[in-house]
């Protein structure tokens, strides 16, 4: 989930912070310090995140486009200049276009807004923007809510009391609500200083940038993994089940399915599953033979050399063309598979299905998938020539049946013509003739379209009179029988 850091570079950010009567820092310095801390954290613990840095005052500027190069971000931060007044609306607009240009409008994004909480005055101020929210033309809509799912984190280089003296807090809360509500406002706890700002950024890190660690299990085989990006909680139905469901930190493999059987399923998100080394005694049966050897030169080299279940799983999934079905929580499943990028690098990937008991109709209820060994006969066949999938629905869809629809005149005409065509080839076409006739009769009865039955009866009688002398005697017999039956039906006597 990419991040945009939106840094307030207005003059008010240069206000000095007095510490014990000594003027040491500007608010800007505190903000930069906090952001540096965030970037350092990401560089070491969350380095696959794409982050962009924008600065704004009355205008906005994209200082660093989306990157994983955290040095570049820190450098840009250190060269940040001071500008004029705060105009948040334009900057938020800027975020929208920067994000959509890079990721389209379906990709969830995090916006980290760093400001001192003085949100401008008069036109262009946040207060003004929010007040005029409802009186705008279509071309001047407020940029929030964004078309992409957004988590907005607002970090104020100010404490809550300070913000509550004005309407700044109210306005920021309104802004958060407009963004979709999935975010948080952070304020400095106590007096402004390096420590308190650090603590605030620490809270942001815990909330949004702490790596998601889990254990991947396959029976007794397991591996510690990091799931990137962090899987989000999902609300299944706001009314019936309003409490968000979160992915469990124990990911349990349930079994395996061929790629062709799972058949490009719809997923709500995709994540990399990266094996990680956790410092603990390797005690599982069958793992590690080298733990008693003398000290290793480097921990990462060591980790690379000791066998890991993820690598084994990935290799076999890739070779066999299969996916592993994995349980993420109660009635929530996903799949693990090998994903190769263009550069021939490949990786273990996890996709999450919609929570629920049957996210993929063609697999049936997932809780009712059981081991092959239980089946009386191997459903895959002895030579893997068969498959129990896809599961067939009980009722066929309209396009898979021979439904009758006469809403367009042509539909009706085609059906009548089909009957007449077969009528002329009696008795050779007796079977098809009756099949088509029955289909028409059945629909006409259901629609209460008795006039049609009468009409077709007449048509058949006419065909009967027009039979050539060479015609088979059975033809006349069938036609008059059919005509008689239709007439009966058209009077409600059948």
């Amino acid at each position: 989930m990419p991040t945009v850091v939106l840094m307030d570079a207005s003059l008010s950010m240069t206000r000095p912070v007095s510490l014990d009567g000594i003027e040491e820092f500007q608010r800007k310095n505190l903000a930069v310090h906090g952001l540096n801390m965030l970037f350092e954290h990401m560089a070491s613990n969350y380095r696959l995140e794409f982050t962009a840095l924008m600065a704004f005052s009355s205008l906005w500027e994209l200082l660093v486009p989306f990157t994983r190069d955290y040095n570049a971000l820190q450098e840009a931060l250190s060269n940040l200049e001071d500008y004029d007044k705060t105009c948040l609306e334009l900057a938020l607009q800027g975020v929208s276009s920067v994000v959509q240009q890079e990721w389209g409008n379906g990709c969830p994004c995090q916006v980290v807004l760093v400001t001192d909480g003085s949100l401008g005055i008069g036109k262009g101020s946040l207060r003004h923007s929010l007040q005029t929210l409802k009186h705008r033309g279509d071309d001047k809509k407020f940029p929030l809510p964004y078309p992409f799912p957004t988590k907005m984190f607002i970090l104020c280089i100010a404490n809550a009391e300070e913000l509550q003296m004005t309407d700044a807090m109210e306005n920021l809360e309104e802004l958060l609500r407009l963004s979709g509500g999935d975010g948080q406002i952070f304020t400095v706890d106590g007096p402004l200083c390096m420590k308190s700002v650090q603590a605030m950024f620490g809270m942001l890190i815990d909330r949004a940038y702490s790596p998601f660690h889990a254990v991947l299990h396959c029976g007794n085989l397991s591996s510690d993994v990091q799931v990137f990006p962090r899987p989000e909680s999902v609300v299944v139905d706001e009314e019936v089940e309003p409490i968000p469901r979160a992915v469990s930190t124990d990911l349990e493999i349930v079994g395996f399915i061929e790629i062709a059987d799972i058949s490009s399923p719809p997923v709500i998100s995709r994540h990399l599953v990266l094996p990680i080394a956790v410092n603990k005694e390797v005690d599982e049966v069958g793992t590690g033979t080298t733990d008693e050897l003398e000290e290793e030169p480097s921990a990462s080299q060591m980790a690379g050399k000791s066998p890991n279940f993820c690598v084994l799983l990935h290799g076999s999934l890739k070779v066999e063309g299969m996916v592993a079905l994995v349980q993420l929580g109660p009635e929530w499943f996903g799949m693990l598979y090998s994903q190769a990028d263009s550069k021939k690098k490949s990786n273990l990937m996890m996709s999450l299905f919609e929570p629920g008991s049957d996210p993929l109709p063609w697999l049936g209820k997932i809780s009712h998938l059981g081991p092959v060994s239980e089946a009386a006969e191997n459903p895959y066949g002895e030579d893997d020539s068969k498959s129990p999938f896809p599961v067939q629905p009980q009722v066929k869809r309209s396009y898979a049946q021979n439904v009758t629809v006469w809403i367009k005149a042509s539909g009706l005409q085609t059906d009548v013509q089909k009957i007449l065509r077969n009528a002329r080839k009696l008795p050779d076409k007796t079977q098809t003739f009756y099949k088509e006739l029955n289909r028409l009769r059945k629909a006409a009865l259901a629609f209460g379209f008795w006039e049609l039955l009468k009409g077709v009866a007449e048509l058949l009688e006419r065909e009967c009179t027009m039979l050539p002398d060479s015609a088979h005697p059975d033809a006349a017999f069938q036609l008059s029988h059919a005509a008689h039956q239709l007439k009966l039906a058209s009077s409600g006597d059948s």
């Binding site: 009314e239 490009s264 066999e320 396009y399 050779d428 259901a446 209460g448 049609l452």
Partner: protein, 770 residues
Amino acid sequence: MKSTLLTPSLKNNESGWLLYSTCGQKRSPSELPGSYGELKIPHGGRDKAISNLSSDTISTSGLKSSVAKEKVALSPTSSCIIPSFESLKSSVSESISEEAAAKKEEEREEEEEDRVLKRDLITFYTLYRLAKMKMFSVAHKTVFVVDHCPYMAESSRQQVECDVLTKSRAQGVIPLAPVSKSLWTCAVECSMEYCRILFDVYPKDKLVNYIVSDSEFHILNTWRREDQSTHELMSALAAVGPPNPREDPECCSILHGLVAAVEALCKITELQHEKRTALMDTAERVANRGRIICLTNAKSDTHVRMLEDCIQETISEQNKLAAGSDRLMAIQQCDLVLVHIYPQGEETLVSDRPKKEISPLLTSEVYSVRAGRHLASKLNILVQQHFDLASTTITNIPMKEEQHANTSANYDVELLHHRDAHIEFFKSGGSSCITGPWAEVVGPNASECDPIIDIWGLYSAGDLHMAGTSTRENGVKETMTLKWCTPRTNSIELHYCTGAYRISPTDVNSRPSSCLTNFLLNGRSVLLEQPRKSGSKVISHMLSSHGGEIFLHVLNSNRSTLEDPPSISEGCGGRVTDYRITDFGEFMRDNRLTPVAESSHDPSGKLPVERAKAQLERYTRYWPMIISQTTIFNMQAVVPLANLIVKEVLTEEDLLTCQKTIYNLVDMERKNDPLPISTYRIMWNELETLVKTHAGATDRHQRVLDCIVACRSKPPEEEERKKRGRKREEREDRTEKNGSKEAEDKSWQESERRVRRFLSACAALTYLLL
């Protein structure tokens, strides 16, 4: 003339062409439902019919002409649709210059509309975000109340020529007079079409209850899941028959049906019951909302108001009743959609009225619609609105005629599906995307979009525009265009798909539609591309069928945030090269999943998925990951035992196989057969480790372990050493491998002892066999 049926597997088909085959007509007679009074072949013809079964191919003379006709209707160059309508004939005869002027005018109007539409789309999306369909929204329960009173037997006065195509064949034959549907027939077929689309897109838990009203009400089905099919409804409707024009109009009223509809809405559905039971103390979260669609012929606006008041009153009454019942639920919201149907050529007595709140529980909207095609398109719009549907037109589908296998023509097919399939597009509102596909939809070239906008293919060029706006006012957009993409995809490719939505063809039995659906039902998938003016190709969707259902898959076409990840070979365990990849592949095959019938009950009471996990647990109790870590799994001779020991239950035969495997190993050791890697001692240790993890399962598992313990070579100090851990022991083994004389002596004594044990084991085996 006998047509040669081409099968879709012919080689030309690799170019992505579809073939017109007569699949729709080729169904076996056994599939015919015979629920209500099938016509029987009288005796004279039965034998013949059977002998002719094989020549079931369809004659082609008539087919050809109908094909030609449809071509006219779909050809993008023709500016009109179906030549059988009077209005249309006149528009064709208009001069070309007039047409061009009209076209320009249309262009301007369409540009204007485009702007309006963009705005609507944005509002639509904002609304959408706030109102994603809930499980128990009004869409969960729909009651159709169809008027069956004598006046519904009146003709719609829309005539259908059903004898059109015979004219050329026989001169001097007086063609059959055109037939016309009654108001009842129109109401029934349009409501069935509504249900057809609904059941195609939502086969589960969007329920319909169908009620017919005359001197009393007739409830044709229930909320139960097995009652939700057009088949059931058609049978029930056939039993009802058309209205009796001679019935006393004084006794008949739509009110009977409306009261029954409110009662029906109070009845609990299976899903409501299931969720209430599951939620226990928060059962009040399960809401009860519903919609009544009333198809009637009302007398006046006052009459309509009277009906609304009556429904409101019934709701209050029923809600009181429901309060004291387990099987009933009070109605929290009811949307009434009243459709007044009147014959063509008559003035309406009832005026349209947008949705209005009658009470906090009841909203009502009124549509006054002429019977026939107008009613059909109205209900098509309604089903889209009521169930969040959107339309996609697949363009440029190459199809070929049976008769002209060398040439192909391109066809368009319109599909309906959940609107989320275009969520990206709707969200982008006025931005980049809209100039892409949208420009194609309402693009300046009016003739190009005729077949697309004109949902029913029935409007003349003249009122096409009107038809378009009328649907737009109702908030339903026309259709998104997606282009058929020739290079097909294969099933072993795992696409990144963000949604899959069931489809229903708008015109289900038209030839292009059935050609496309049959192509997909045969198991092929096709990628779809967004038509863009700028040459870039964006593949955004895929059509694919799964188990007889067709889905529109949404493929991700944006940049991935996961690009360029570190390769798995760079991470933990990435440098190890001797993973047992093939063995684990075998393991995965053994642990593949299969659907288990819900009825099959396991004595343990565990769900199949839990049993699958339990199997994985058993299979992995001892599973070394790398080749150099294991001896037994590198030995063919151990396979029978290794495969069996993981089973939950061993049969007597399994036990024997395991024991035989062990004796065989003893024998190998005695003959000093070389082992792949290590020594026999390590092998025995490992085998014992494997079997020990299962020994507790059953008595027979334990006996396998006993057999190993009895037969294996074990130096005297083994027990003591074991305590020091397996790994150290292995290391010692490695040093031992270099060999000392002592050890050899010891092993000689050892093997003697073992032979003795072996003999006694053989005796035991013989005993067993007896």
